[in-house]
C-alpha cells in the first residue's frame, strides 16, 4: 500500500510529529526529535514552542541545529535563560507538557539507561550519562520515547537505571512522589508502544504498515504485552513527506 517510498526515519518523524497534536511545549533534543517537532509546528501543533535544556524557550532555528547548544537556537528565540532557570522555572515548575527522550536501554516500564553497559564501577561501555534526562523524566508532564527496536536496547533488566519511567509498574512512580506523569509512548521504527494499562507496562498498540507483531516481539527482550486492540499506523502522507524533505530537513541529515 506504500504509494510513495519513505524511509524508517521518515516514518518515525511523521509519527512523532502526529503525537504532538495540540501540544504547547515540548522539551527536545537534536536530530530526529528536532525534525519531528518542526514538522509538528507545520501540521498538528502550530503553537508548539520548543524548549532546550541549554536554556532556550521558543526557538526558531534558521538551520538544523548541530547540537542542543547551537547558536542558531538562540537567534530569534522568545527567551534565553540560564540553565538553572530553565531546569527550575520551566521543567521543574511543570511547564513542559511533553519531553522526547531516548536511551541505550529501555525496560518494560519505560525506565531508561544512558549511563553504562556492564557494571557501573567497571563498565564495559561508558555511555554519556544523564545530562538532563533524569530530571526531565521526573518532571515533564508526559514523556515520549523515540527509539529503534533492537533486542539489545529493549531489555528485560537495565544495567543502570538513569531516568525513571514507571519504575516497577503500577502506582510505584506516584508513590515515590514523582511530579510528572512518566512514559506515555514509545515511538519505534516498527510500531507504537503505549503504557495504557493498570500495570503501566509497555504494550504493543499500533503496527506500522507491513509490520507483524512477531517482528516487534523479535526485537524485545521480554514477552511483550499486547493492547486489547492493535491499530495500524498510517504511512506518512505526501504532505508530511514534502514538508520533511523540502522544509524541515532539506539537507536530509536525518533521513
Amino acid at each position: 500500500m506504500r504509494e510513495v517510498a519513505y524511509s524508517d526515519s521518515e516514518m518515525m518523524i511523521a509519527v512523532a510529529a502526529r503525537v504532538l497534536k495540540g501540544a504547547r511545549t515540548v522539551f527536545v533534543g537534536v536530530g530526529l526529535p528536532n525534525i519531528a517537532c518542526n514538522l509538528a509546528r507545520h501540521t498538528v501543533a502550530p503553537d508548539l514552542e520548543l524548549i532546550y535544556e541549554s536554556g532556550v524557550y521558543g526557538a526558531r532555528p534558521e538551520r538544523l541545529p548541530l547540537s542542543i547548544g547551537d547558536p542558531t537556537l538562540v537567534s530569534g528565540a522568545v527567551s534565553v535563560v540560564s540553565m538553572a532557570d530553565l531546569f527550575g522555572l520551566y521543567l521543574q515548575r511543570g511547564l513542559v507538557e511533553i519531553a522526547l527522550l531516548g536511551g541505550a536501554q529501555i525496560d518494560r516500564y519505560g525506565n531508561l539507561n544512558t549511563t553504562v553497559i556492564g557494571d557501573y564501577s567497571k563498565p564495559k561501555t561508558r555511555l554519556p550519562g544523564s545530562g538532563g534526562a533524569c530530571e526531565i523524566a521526573i518532571n515533564a508532564q508526559r514523556t515520549f520515547m523515540i527509539m529503534r527496536l533492537k533486542r539489545r536496547a529493549f531489555v528485560d533488566k537495565l544495567d543502570f537505571l538513569t531516568s525513571p519511567g514507571h519504575l516497577t509498574g503500577g502506582d510505584s512512580r506516584a508513590r515515590l512522589g514523582l511530579p510528572g506523569g512518566g512514559p506515555a509512548l514509545v515511538i519505534t521504527d516498527k510500531a507504537i508502544l503505549t503504557f495504557d494499562n493498570p500495570q503501566r507496562e509497555m504494550q504493543l498498540s499500533d503496527l506500522y504498515p507491513g509490520v507483524q507483531a512477531k517482528d516487534v516481539q523479535a526485537e524485545v527482550g521480554w514477552p511483550l504485552r499486547l493492547a486489547v486492540t492493535i491499530g495500524e499506523t498510517a504511512a506518512p502522507t505526501t504532505e508530511e513527506l514534502r514538508l520533511i524533505r523540502d522544509e524541515v530537513d532539506p539537507q536530509g541529515m536525518y533521513r
Binding site: 538551520r63 547551537d70 547558536p71 542558531t72 538562540v74 528565540a77 522568545v78 532557570d85 522555572l89 518532571n139
Partner: protein, 310 residues
C-alpha cells in the same frame, strides 16, 4: 494557565481585574520601588474587591491605598515603609487600630520573601537561606523553620513556597502573547511571575513579537505563563519605569501628609479612584504636561550582535 496558547491576550485593565481577581484571592502586585502597577491597584479598589490577601515585599503607597479602601484582610510583606519618605499610615491604622478593618500580618525579611517566590516558581518544597537564626522573626512567624544540613554544617533556615492566585507585573514592553521584556531593577518579578497561578502583565509599550525575538536574553517573562496583557501607559505612576518616567516624588511626599488622616484618604480615593472611570481618565486628570516633566533624557544601551547562525 489556561490562556497560555492564545495569540492575543490584550484586554482592558477593567476586564483583566474582573476576570482574574476575585474576592478572597491572594494577589501580588510586585516590583521593587519602581514598576509598581498603581493602575491595577486602583481598578481593584474600583471593583470593590474584599478579603484579599495582599502580597508585596514593600507594600508602598499602593497597598496603603488598597488597605485603606478595605480590600484586604491580610498582608504578606518584608518591609513596610514609604520608601525614602517614612511610614505607611493607612497600614499602621489597620494594624494598630483596625481601621477600616483588622489586618493580619505575615512577615519575612526581603530574602525570605524572595525565597518563598523562588520556591513557588520552581515547585520546590522550600527555599534555604542564611537568615533568621538569632532573630525574633523565627518565633513571630512559624512558617519559617530551621533544618539540619544533611552534610553536617549545622542549622539553616527555610521558608515554604508561595503561589499567589494572581501576580500583576508592570514592564516596559511585551507582545500580544505576553512575552515580556524589562530592564533596570529586575527585583523579584521573574520569580513571582513563575510562582503565580495567573499572571497579568501591564506595559508601557506594545511591540511586535519580532522585537522580543530580536533580544531573547532580555525576555524576563514568557507568554507561556501570562494570561492577560494590558497596555496602560503611565500605569506605574507615581512610581517609576526605568527610562520611561521618573518617580513622582511630590506624590510620595504628599501622601506622607495626607495619609495620616483616614477621612482625607477616603476623600482622595473618591477623587482619584472611585471618581474616575479608568487609568486613562487618571492620566487626563493629571494632564500630559505632568508626565512630560517626569521623562528622563535618553540613555541608550549599545546594541549587541546575536549573529544569524545559519
Amino acid at each position: 494557565m489556561n490562556n497560555s496558547a492564545k495569540a492575543n491576550k490584550l484586554v482592558s485593565m477593567q476586564d483583566a481585574i474582573a476576570t482574574y481577581v476575585s474576592d478572597n484571592f491572594s494577589v501580588a502586585i510586585e516590583g521593587f520601588t519602581g514598576f509598581i502597577c498603581f493602575a491595577a491597584g486602583h481598578e481593584i479598589i474600583r471593583q470593590r474587591r474584599r478579603n484579599l490577601t495582599l502580597i508585596r515585599m514593600t507594600p508602598d503607597l499602593i497597598y496603603d491605598q488598597m488597605i485603606a479602601a478595605g480590600t484586604a484582610s491580610k498582608l504578606i510583606f518584608s518591609y513596610m515603609g514609604n520608601p525614602g519618605v517614612g511610614s505607611l499610615y493607612c497600614i499602621r491604622r489597620a494594624v494598630e487600630k483596625a481601621i477600616p478593618c483588622p489586618l493580619e500580618l505575615e512577615e519575612y525579611s526581603h530574602y525570605g520573601l524572595v525565597g518563598r517566590y523562588a520556591a513557588g516558581a520552581s515547585r520546590l518544597p522550600f527555599f534555604a537561606l542564611r537568615s533568621y537564626i538569632g532573630s525574633d522573626m523565627l518565633a513571630a512567624n512559624p512558617l519559617i523553620k530551621l533544618i539540619d544540613d544533611p552534610y553536617g554544617t549545622g542549622k539553616i533556615a527555610v521558608v515554604p513556597p508561595l503561589n499567589p492566585d494572581v501576580a500583576i507585573l508592570h514592564a516596559q514592553r511585551a507582545d500580544a502573547k505576553g512575552n515580556t521584556q524589562l530592564w533596570g531593577l529586575l527585583g523579584m518579578q521573574k520569580e513571582i511571575a513563575f510562582a503565580a497561578k495567573h499572571v497579568i502583565v501591564v506595559i508601557e509599550e506594545l511591540v511586535d513579537e519580532s522585537m522580543i525575538r530580536a533580544d531573547p536574553n532580555r525576555t524576563l517573562i514568557p507568554g507561556l505563563i501570562v494570561d492577560a496583557v494590558v497596555h496602560e501607559p503611565y500605569g506605574a505612576h507615581p512610581s517609576y519605569v526605568q527610562g520611561y518616567y521618573d518617580r513622582d516624588n511630590e506624590s510620595y511626599l504628599a501622601w506622607d501628609k495626607l495619609s495620616q488622616d483616614h477621612a482625607a484618604v477616603l476623600a482622595w480615593l473618591d477623587e482619584w479612584v472611585y471618581g474616575l472611570e479608568n487609568h486613562a481618565a487618571y492620566v487626563r486628570k493629571h494632564g500630559q504636561a505632568h508626565f512630560d516633566k517626569l521623562k528622563p533624557e535618553p540613555l541608550l544601551a549599545p546594541s549587541v550582535d546575536y549573529g544569524r547562525h545559519r
